[in-house]
Amino acid sequence: MKALLSLRPWLGVLAERRGRLLLGAVLMLATLLSALGLLSLSGWFITATAIAAVSASGYLDVFTPGGGIRFFAVSRTVSRYLERLYNHDTILRLLADLRGRVFARLVTLDARTLARARASQWLNRLTADIDTLDNLYLRLLAPPLVALISILAFAAFAAAFLPIAGIVLLAVLLPLGLVATAGCAWWGWRASHRRVDRQERLRVRAIEQVEGLAELTSYRALDAHRALWHREERALLDDQRRLGQRTATGNLVVTVGIQLATLAVLLLGLEAFRSGQVSGPVMVMLALGTLAVSEGLGNLPMAFTQLGATVRAAERLNAQAELKTPLTGERLTSGGAAPSLSYRNVEVAHGARVVFSGLNLSLDPGQRIGIIGASGIGKSTLAQLAVRAFDPQGGRVEFDHQDIAGLAPDSLRARIGYLTQRSELFHDTLAANLRMGDPDASDAQLWDALERVELKAWAEALPEGLETWVGEQGRQLSGGQARRVALARVMLRDSPLVILDEPLSGLDAATAASLATTLDAWLAGRTALLLGHDEAALPRCDRYWRLVPGKQGTQLLG
């Protein structure tokens, strides 16, 4: 029961569109009542005509019921079509909004929180989890409600003719509804709750197999990895089989219940007819009506055995909402001149591991400082602190003498050009990747930037030039080309403070040397923090500091 609470925020989202949802439910009800009207009125009509034929008078008004039958025939079709179209539109509208909203929350998270969650799990949250939630209204909320209303209404209608029939209807159909909803949900809970995660694990294995195919095939390790894949697949299929069997059993119970209820109403009606309590036509009408009204229960077992999956999807989305709150602050107001940057008594720990304790470093306006250190020692951490990817546990980082903990990350980052250690390119065109640095850059400016990183000749030789797609994570480019595209992107940004993390990695010696010269000129007049494993791996700097392991985290040595 407690698990159902995780649906609350999403019910809240549904409530924002309650007008549409209500209209959708009304259309559903109209469809069910039309079917009910069609079948029961036809039964009534045929029985009435049969009786009229053998009775003395032989007269019956055929026009009113005939018109009614025709009306229900048309209204059933029309309301069903409208209902399905309208409700699916509502749901898709909701889903599209939700996707945007979930992503909007993701982009405000800080770098360390982002590193904790994994990329394809997020993909799954964004698409599959939200898609799973569409069950909430269309399968789980509206149908039981409509079934309940129509059962109550028909029971009252039946009770007007034959009270005992109304009571029997409620006594059989209400518990049956409970079995089809709560019962099936309980029975399918574990398997369906697990299924979402199992499908996700299978997807992760698929991605591993695609991305790691080079290593897996050359090491002949593909079979070993396949064994992992098959284990996940078997677990998923077992769950699906179990759910399918339970759904089938739920359907069996509901079918038997509905048919027995119909039989019971018929037998009661027959008894009442013989004692003269009800007429023949009414008796037949009640039995057929029971059959029709029970249609509303038919799809419930299938929907409710899957309730666990819906709740699991909601739980995962909720967990994401509980990740840290975004960083905020005031807008940075200082001008565009080269700023100073200083770290004062900075303390950072990754879990139990102390990275910095009491670190001090300052860059004067226009000064160029090189930080040398082994990989994993904390160079990138220095850079992330400067762009306020996260806040230090102690001490402060100042941009132009303002503590950046009080600045809005966006306005701070707008002054900083930061080349990250990994060249992060997007599955888009070369031009689009470059324009991330300057959305308003003209094609000529893009070509200039490419020329500076010595990629102009290469790009001109491409059949599609700037419009060439770079592939997922820039895989269509070589490592060195991707590095230089990323560098060109930072140069286009033209910012007063520049941070370059291993700017020349992956380049051959000749290209590296000439790019170092280009960078040396470009960095003039800017404050710059350059990070590398070696002085030779960086353009010339005013001063170098060395990061070395110390007793209390990493220390700076001059």
């Binding site: 898709l92 770098a111 018929l266 007819f273 037949v284 250690q421 491409l462 070696d534």
Partner: protein, 559 residues
């Protein structure tokens, strides 16, 4: 897609058989129901008189429910097996395509094909296919019964029936086309999301977070509009069916009613009584029920066909794919003569479709135990040459001869890190390795200290894309695999690209050990230390190899 049915035929037949049984049970139930009502209303029979009829109804209900259960369970077994078969074939296919051709595809898109699109085949095999047979057979049985009761009523039903498949076929064709478009949209959508989510940190740095939210939302809305178009047509097909079903029931009801009253003098109307009238009325909706069920499953068919389109195009060979077979052949014929670890290239050429760069023609023989360095500006084709030797791509001309047994060790620029423990990641290349040899390999790769500080030791969990490992550490883990692997031939693409000098020394020492143990090393590198270690150094310029001669001193001090 049809071939998939072969292995699952018994289950498929079981589903159809159970469905037929359910249809017959329904017939008996309705007949008994009409008889009971007629006997009581027309002949004033007591409930005791009709006890047999009531018992028959109860038995028919039970039989019907059980048969439906059987149909569902058999159908599902059929669907699950098909999914398993298709996934197995797709995995084999991915292997055939090889890492280089896969590099141009989006891994998330492929994963969604492998998992989610295959998932959408299930409904087609478990529900739609059996129901298609039932939708033809069951109405026929009912029609015969109604015809026997009253041929004119049967004709009313018959008039509506043939129109239905016609309409559905027309509408179905449109729905299928739209469904294919929708699947493309889903694949693109998931690729787009994964790409943007992975790069969120970069988007934040460039202040593009808000703009990309709009973009993501726009893509999602585009998906909605596409879906809705599909649904509008899909729903129309079932609406047409519903309409005919409802009108037919209404017409039959009015015909029977008027016939009973004696208003219709034509045909068999006079023979109608309450039993036959009620029986026909009860059968009329049941006559359409299998078709209605089929149309509910039409969605299954459309999505399965849409998915199948993409899956088939993945399974079918591309135009430029004759090459790998050729490569395999040369592999089999020639490699027997080669010692493990040796490599021979004969007049090899390589052309990338749509790109300028051409490799070759080049010939090269590398003996077991040699260390060869490949140098050249980035993009010159160093990686391509390694890929040729590894067999990931086939030469456009010439022959590559390598023995792939026991294995080739490969160090990627983006190392694979699977979800699992550190040990799982290492044992991938040597399933029987002891903990001790895992530790040794890690130490040789310069991860000894990291291992000592890792909380769970070898059982420390690593995530997708190496969460918990820095870039350099990931590369060192991949190096540890090289040390662990029994491979005689080791291909390394920029092994020191992201390493600091200290680790670099570890790695180079390790590589020297590898070479000393008699393994062949072919390294694409810019690093002077590795070049110095190499017996031969080749520069790649304009796709051609040229030997780089170094002073004898340099070689001696390093060998």
């Amino acid at each position: 897609m049809k071939q998939q049915a072969a292995g699952v035929r018994p289950w498929y037949r079981g589903a159809v058989g159970c469905g037929l049984l359910a249809g017959l049970a329904t017939l008996i139930q309705m007949g008994a129901l009409a008889w009971v009502v007629d006997d009581v209303v027309s002949n004033q029979a007591t409930l005791g008189d009709v006890a047999i009829g009531v018992a028959l109804i109860v038995i028919a209900i039970a039989a019907r429910a059980l048969a439906q259960w059987g149909q569902e369970v058999c159908g599902q077994a059929c669907g699950l097996r098909v999914k398993q078969q298709v996934r197995a074939r797709l995995l084999v296919r991915l292997q055939q395509l090889g890492p280089v051709r896969l590099a141009s595809r989006h891994s998330a898109g492929l994963a969604s094909q492998l998992v989610d699109q295959v998932e959408s085949l299930e409904g087609y095999y478990s529900r739609f296919l059996p129901q298609m047979v039932l939708a033809a057979l069951i109405p026929l049985v009912y029609l015969v019964v109604v015809f026997w009761l009253n041929w004119l009523a049967a004709i009313w039903l018959l008039i509506a029936a043939p129109l239905i498949p016609l309409f559905m076929a027309l509408i179905g064709m449109g729905a299928q086309r739209l469904n294919e478009a929708q699947f493309q949209a889903v694949t693109r959508l998931s690729g787009h999301f994964l790409d943007r989510v992975r790069g969120i940190a970069t988007l934040q740095l460039f202040g593009l977070a808000e703009r990309s939210v709009e973009e993501v939302s726009e893509v999602a809305h585009d998906y909605r509009r596409r879906s809705l178009k599909t649904l509008r047509v899909a729903f129309l097909s079932s609406a047409v069916l519903e309409f005919f079903a409802a009108v037919s029931v209404a017409v039959v009801a009015i015909y029977i009613g008027l016939g009973l009253l004696g208003y219709i003098q034509y045909g068999p109307a006079e023979q109608l009584d309450l039993f036959s009238g009620l029986f026909i009325l009860l059968l009329a909706p049941e006559f359409f029920q299998p078709l209605r069920t089929l149309s509910q499953h039409y969605h299954d068919r459309a999505s399965a066909l849409g998915a199948a389109e993409g899956l088939v195009s993945l399974l079918e060979p591309d135009a430029d794919e004759a090459a790998p077979a050729e490569c395999d052949r040369s592999d089999k014929t020639a490699s027997r003569e080669l010692v493990p670890g040796a490599v021979e290239l004969v007049n090899v050429e390589l052309r990338h479709a749509g790109r300028e760069r051409i490799l070759g023609p080049l010939s090269l023989r590398i003996d077991t135990g040699e260390v060869v360095a490949l140098i050249g500006p980035s993009g010159s084709g160093k990686s391509s040459l390694l890929q040729l030797i590894a067999g990931f791509i086939a030469p456009s001309a010439g022959q590559v001869e390598v023995r792939r047994d026991p294995a080739i060790a490969w160090l990627d620029q983006r190392p694979l890190i699977i979800q699992g423990t550190l040990a799982d990641n290492l044992r991938l290349v040597a399933p029987d390795a002891s903990d001790e040899s895992l530790r040794n390999a890690l130490t040789q790769a310069g991860l000894g200290q990291w291992l000592a500080s890792a909380p769970g030791g070898l059982e420390t969990p690593l995530g997708e894309r190496g969460v918990g490992l820095s870039g350099g550490e990931g590369q060192r883990l991949a190096l540890a695999r090289v040390f662990l692997s029994p491979a005689r031939l080791v291909l390394l693409d920029e092994p020191t690209a992201a390493l600091d000098p200290e680790t670099e020394q570890h790695v180079i020492a390790g590589l020297t050990q590898l070479a000393a143990s008699g393994r062949t090393l072919i390294v694409a590198t810019h690093h002077p230390a590795i070049m110095a270690m190499a017996g031969r150094v080749f520069a790649i310029e304009q796709g051609r190899l040229s030997r780089v001669e170094r002073s004898a001193d340099a070689r001696e001090t390093n060998s």
